[in-house]
């Protein structure tokens, strides 16, 4: 390989990359908040006693889990404005698509945790005269959250990576900025490597933390 690496062209572009990084982080964080909150609600719906709540919730989950994220994003950007005759700014739209996708995945993650709450706890709630929402919020949620955290965080990392897809519908996130710099400067190798490293640096610490957490939970279970 005889290629002269040259990172000088980046000098004037750091501001652009920083702006892109901010958009990426914003997309990832807000989608994660949406996914964590709505995911729990959706999970409760799929466990509901009523067919008319359970069935659409299950369909929602399966549809988001069985179609490509890219297609979901493109669908939201093209079809939502046409169907509902609204204009939503690109970042909000990206959050909407990514957040709903994450909601479906998180609902599955919560489900095992909710089902693992022992029957006796629910009986105890009745005996203590807790209202249904109190039972859900103070008894079920904390226990479900605790066992679901590793999977929820892994889902969170994958949404950070999937957020790169909004570049395809021209939202100026890190990937998009990187792509345009690479094209302008004729330096794909340096730019794409740099962008890949930034994504890697963002997700590696969280992935390591998840591994540590899983080891701890395994150890707690073995005891």
């Amino acid at each position: 390989m005889n290629y002269q690496f040259d990172f000088n062209f980046l000098n004037g572009n750091f501001g652009l990359l920083w702006d892109g990084l901010k958009v990426t982080l914003q997309l990832a964080l807000v989608s994660n908040i949406v996914g964590l909150v709505l995911g729990f609600g959706l999970c409760l719906l799929t466990l509901s006693r009523w067919f008319f709540l359970r069935w659409p919730a299950q369909l929602f989950i399966e549809f988001f889990r069985c179609t490509p994220v890219l297609l979901q994003i493109v669908w939201f950007f093209y079809c939502v404005p046409m169907l509902f005759d609204v204009f939503i700014d690109p970042i909000t739209m990206g959050v909407l698509a990514l957040g709903l996708n994450l909601t479906a995945f998180n609902a599955e993650a919560y489900r095992a945790g909710v089902q693992a709450v022992p029957r006796e706890h629910l009986d105890a709630c009745v005996a203590l005269g807790l209202r249904p929402w109190q039972r859900t919020l103070y008894v079920i949620l904390p226990q479900a959250l605790r066992s679901a955290v590793p999977v929820l965080m892994t889902n969170g990392i994958s949404i950070l990576q999937q957020s790169a897809l909004v570049a395809i519908v021209a939202v100026a996130d890190l990937m998009y900025v990187g792509k345009s710099i690479a094209t302008e400067a004729y330096r794909p190798l340096e730019t794409y490597s740099l962008i890949a490293l930034i994504y890697f640096a963002l997700s590696l610490p969280i992935a390591q933390f998840v591994q540590w957490l899983e080891r701890r939970q395994d150890a707690a279970l073995a005891r």
């Binding site: 390989m1 399966e62 179609t67 493109v74 046409m82």
Partner: protein, 221 residues
Amino acid sequence: MNLDFTVVFSYWQALLQGLALTLAFTVGCAILGSLCGFLLSLLRASRSRWLSVPAGLYVELFRGTPLLIQLFWVFFCFPVVFGIDVPPYVSVLLALTLYMTAITSETFRGALKSIPGEQHDACVALGLASWNKTIFVVFPQALLRGIPPLLSNVVSLFKESALISSVGIADLMFVGQNISNSTARPVEFLSAVAVIYFLVAFPLTRLVGVIETRMLRRYAY
């Protein structure tokens, strides 16, 4: 606005061709990636640090970066780095295989871990050579236990393969987007493409559950 889903049917041939290409890439990369993934998981489990650390780094790197970047990297940077002209189909195949290798190696690692230590001891007691142990004892069991998660990996590869449309490969996603642009009917065509993806992926995810409950209970435990 008025929606007319009947127009979708007049383009069924183009959509079917796109689906065929998507499936071809998925199956090809799934097979190549699973084989390489198994080898990589062996390297990761190796006692030598010179083998296990680079293998671990490879997996972390490919799991920690978006597939879109990996795709662009292979597509735009391989020709620059190696000074050769790589045809688009090959570079896409390469990118998806590299990604699948990293993903499946994690699956196999979990499966390898689940093989009890007694089996390794038995192999030593029987005096099996280490490659014999790998091929006849470890690999069949790892494969059997790995089948359900491997199938889920294939389903996610099937979904992720929609990304290859962004470098101009005429897969289902690309065909759907092209038709929706040229006919100015995004709602109908994008929804139809979504339904096609769903119809392929959903039965596969159900199959994962069936295999998990039926087959594994009978053969693996």
